[in-house]
């Protein structure tokens, strides 16, 4: 945990009292607007990526100033936790720059990589399906873990265990999360990958479920991390502190995460990037984590668009140049078209190329929920690793203007895979080959099975 952990808890009981409404509707917007103006941070709506080192440094300074000026709001005590510049600088100076996740052949060492680095970002694909049917969930996961280019997985939240639906904050919730963990271990073992990394427990949303799941040992310090993320728009609560302390006690890697919602209290991607930096520094101070996930989403319900990719790239580049924490963002655009749509495959490529040229160390939720999409994500990650920012932006602009065939009706796993052999059906392979051809024509050379 962070050096300031105990101090932060004390400050949560002694800091200035403020209503949450004042914090979110007055203080946050005014300080954000002020630092954005001071550092002249403006996005070009026509540019999908922010690759300017000077602006990245400005985003970092603005984020630092936002944290120092605004502080973190503790929902339990209605008080603001403030930091000094020296404290945050010390947190940065003593931060870890490398984390090791997974074991054995699946061990990953996430260490700093610059934009254009030939070392590829690790690709963590979703495993499972949004269902209560355990067999369906397992089948999806099996198709993913068998893919060699899939470096780790992120379990998709289970909705229940067959007839037992999730009832939040009850043992049913823990049962569902334990089932998720059991299936992840089972399928990884089946694929001969017992050291595979499973990301975070995605079916758990409460501290008690998280702690109970780790207590089982199915998720542990080798194969999983514990979310200690800050709450939306610079807020914390006692749950966050309890999770940090639990991570410390169990030797678990904290999963720091921030997902700003653009157009709620933030005016656009610039403020999203600034807030990501401020929140990351706040988390760093209290949790002592290193692994940081940062992705923006729009209040309009989308994960794609120039504003989203600009925000994610600006924050990542700012962090890469000034923090060098192991950094990741989303590896898809959550396209609703499904596995056979063009939009989903282009979206995955766009997000992963963004990660490559913005200096990220990994992507999560990369691709879709099928193995072939995981393969696509992992291969694109390797293929785009050496691209310079300008080369990457050129490819991204081609993606944005590429023609897209109408998305076919949603297709289930049994129509995409031969469930006896777990091999994709020829039509699905053809879809994959179509994209490998397109990207090879655009100059990406990489090892694939499209021979």
């Amino acid at each position: 945990m962070g050096r300031l952990f105990w101090e932060v808890i004390q400050r949560s009981t002694t800091g200035p009292i403020m209503s949450e409404e004042e914090f979110e509707t007055e203080r946050l917007p005014s300080v954000l607007a002020s630092v954005q103006a001071k550092y002249k941070i403006e996005a070009d709506p026509d540019e999908p990526i922010m690759a300017d080192p000077d602006m990245a440094d400005a985003v970092f300074k603005a984020g630092m100033e936002l944290l120092l000026e605004l502080g973190l709001y503790c929902q339990d005590t209605k008080r603001v936790i403030h930091f000094t510049e020296e404290e945050i600088k010390e947190a940065i100076a003593t931060a870890r720059h490398e984390v090791v996740l997974g074991q054995g052949r699946d061990e990953m060492r996430l260490s700093p990589r610059a934009p254009g680095d030939t070392k590829h970002p690790y690709s963590w694909s979703p495993a499972g399906a949004m269902t209560t049917n355990i067999d369906t969930y397992r089948t999806h996961a099996l198709t993913v873990v068998q893919e060699p280019a899939c470096d780790g997985v992120i379990p998709i939240p289970l909705f229940g265990v067959n007839d037992t639906k999730v009832v939040a904050e009850t043992p049913a919730h823990t049962l569902v999360c334990l089932t998720e963990a059991r299936i992840m271990n089972d399928v990884a073992g089946w694929a001969g990958r017992p050291g595979l990394f499973f990301g975070i427990p995605m079916s758990a949303t409460t501290p008690i479920t998280l702690m109970s799941t780790f207590d089982s040992g199915l998720y542990n310090k080798h194969n999983c991390t514990l979310p200690v993320q800050i709450l939306m728009d610079m807020r914390v609560n006692f749950d966050r502190f309890n999770l940090v302390f639990f991570a410390e006690q169990q030797g678990l890697e904290p999963w720091m995460s921030c997902s700003p919602t653009l157009y709620a209290y933030l005016t656009g991607p610039e403020q999203g990037a600034i807030e990501i930096i401020a929140q990351s520094l706040g988390m760093l101070a209290y949790s002592g984590g290193a692994l940081t996930q940062a992705m923006s989403v729009s209040v309009h319900g989308v994960y794609s668009g120039n504003d989203i990719s600009w925000c994610n790239s600006a924050a990542a580049l700012a962090a890469e140049r000034n923090l060098q924490l192991p950094w990741l963002s989303i590896g898809s655009t959550v396209d609703p078209g499904g596995p056979m749509s063009d939009g989903a495959w282009y979206g995955t490529a766009l997000s992963i190329i963004n990660a490559c040229i913005s200096g990220m160390e990994a992507t999560w939720l990369s691709g879709g929920s099928t193995g072939l999409e995981a393969r696509w994500a992992g291969e694109i990650s390797r293929a785009a690793a050496g691209l310079s920012p300008s080369e990457g932006i050129e490819v991204i602009k081609k993606i944005l203007t590429a023609e897209r065939a109408p998305a076919p009706p949603s297709t289930k796993i049994d129509k995409l895979y031969d469930l006896k052999t777990l091999r994709p059906i020829p039509e699905f392979v053809d879809h994959y080959k179509k994209f490998t051809r397109i990207f090879k024509e655009w100059g990406l050379e990489y090892p694939s099975w499209d021979e």
Binding site: T25, Y263, Y265, V299
Partner: protein, 212 residues
């Protein structure tokens, strides 16, 4: 000079004090309260909504616009001649599902009240059961749900399922609206009506409750 167009601009620019002052001036000048409400306040709100859809405004602007409207609406309500507004013997349970947002919901509440309905406003952070329980206790005729954040969408589905399970789905028409909703989504989830704007709530209620 006080004009309805100027009031619309003040609401759109979210200036509550100035908008309230101008509303009072317009009423004192004898302009039709309904005209002030619709062409001044409601259209001003629509302007903010349009800017929001174009990513030129944020949720906070919608909130501020709601505060501005709230500063004007009581003045307009008071200006309606006593007994002029028709009152229907129809009760509507209205609330925000899950989240703490209330501006859109409050606006719908005001418009439904002006429109002659008895509104039972159950506030914010409601569960599906809250809507059902209040409807049963109050003898409501319709349930209106504000869904502003994505997690609340799932809860709306739970409400529809709950009403079916308790065999009261036919008893309560359910309408929905809010920032994250769409007509297609509302229809898919089984809502009886979807409102894009606050004033749509009144039209839907009239239609579903058979009021000409």
């Amino acid at each position: 000079m006080a004009t309805i167009e100027a009031l619309r601009t003040l609401v759109s620019e979210t200036k509550p004090e100035e908008a309230a002052e101008m509303t009072a001036e317009l009423l004192a000048a004898g302009l039709d309260p309904m005209e002030i409400l619709e062409a001044g306040v409601m259209d001003g709100l629509s302007d903010v909504g349009d800017r929001f859809a174009a990513k030129k405004a944020i949720v906070l602007d919608l909130v501020r616009a709601g505060v501005t409207a709230k500063a004007c609406i009581p003045l307009i309500q008071d200006a309606f001649p006593e007994g002029e507004g028709q009152q229907y013997d129809k009760k509507i349970v209205l609330g925000t599902m899950l989240s703490q947002h209330n501006i859109g919901k409050n606006l719908v509440s005001t418009l439904l009240s002006i429109g002659g309905f008895e509104v039972i406003d159950i506030g914010e952070k409601n569960s599906p059961f809250d809507f059902y329980e209040t409807a049963e206790k109050s003898g409501a005729d319709l349930i209106a749900v504000s869904v502003v954040f994505a997690p609340a969408m799932e809860k709306f589905t739970e409400l529809i399922d709950l009403l079916k399970e308790l065999k009261v789905r036919d008893k309560y028409p359910v309408i929905v609206g809010g920032a994250v909703t769409s007509k297609a989504w509302a229809e898919k989830e089984g809502a009886d009506g979807w409102g894009e704007q606050a004033k749509d709530g009144v039209l839907l209620a009239r239609d579903l409750l058979g009021i000409a």
